[in-house]
Symmetry: D3
């Protein structure tokens, strides 16, 4: 613990995910004082047809 | 905010998702008085082998 | 199924929650063709100190 | 209710999922005294590139 | 991993939670072959006014 | 988007939460190239009696 869930639009590269989990783990251990091994991060790649803002799917936006 | 997560069996059409997010956003703004743009909806399409009720996967039901 | 999770700022009344779950269940059954009894809705009341947008907690906004 | 969400690395067989939901439903009804039909279980198969521990994606581990 | 989230009506005793997490961890390690230490379980106690089935909050049911 | 959910043991101060959401938003915008306003972070303070690792509630550990 802590445990993170990150939902983001699909299409991010492995390199971006790698950098992101490194950075989040680093700032978490600095600020909360936890061991890096206790930080779990789960990413969900969300399709544009499965995310809506303002009543409109992102797949319907131009 | 508010943020919705909807888990449903896979197989819904884009048209159904479109109508659903429109309707949910409409009733939310009417009842809670929030701006449509602040309503986020995330849909998860769940495989029948990943949902169980009563101890039985839906993929095992006839 | 489907199962909804709604996260919203704390402070909504029971009456608003009552109206919201009725309306969401109604539009869901109309659009997806499911039985009302199969619609589960879980609400999470989120404290302003536990929600941030743009890097700022809502409790820090004036 | 109760409703379970299980996140696990992808690669489990249907047979394992079948056994797992049966067993979880059984122990839940024994301990909480609920009817089996009221136990819902949703499984998420997580890709190794989407789970990090200690700041490192599991896909990067050897 | 795996990571469990259990949502249940508030009111369960610590003793029930204790038995439940022991039993779930045991069946998980037996069926999936993972180490007990890798099983994380998070429980959410849900108020009756925050759970609806069939369009009706459980706090409104008699 | 992206949307973060952070589950952590209860007891963190507002100051820690403030620093954490600032830092996470900063690294996210740097690595993913999104606008800060599109980053939403929701924190859940988890009681020790509601988190188990290795089949044991954290409230039962000494």
């Amino acid at each position: 613990m802590p445990t993170y869930h990150i939902e983001m639009m699909e299409g991010r590269t492995i390199e971006q995910k790698k950098q992101l989990v490194e950075a989040i783990t680093r700032v978490t251990t600095e600020i909360l004082g936890t061991a890096p091994e206790s930080v779990d991060i789960l990413i969900t790649d969300v399709k544009r047809e499965n995310w809506a803002t303002g009543g409109k799917l992102w797949s319907e936006r131009s």
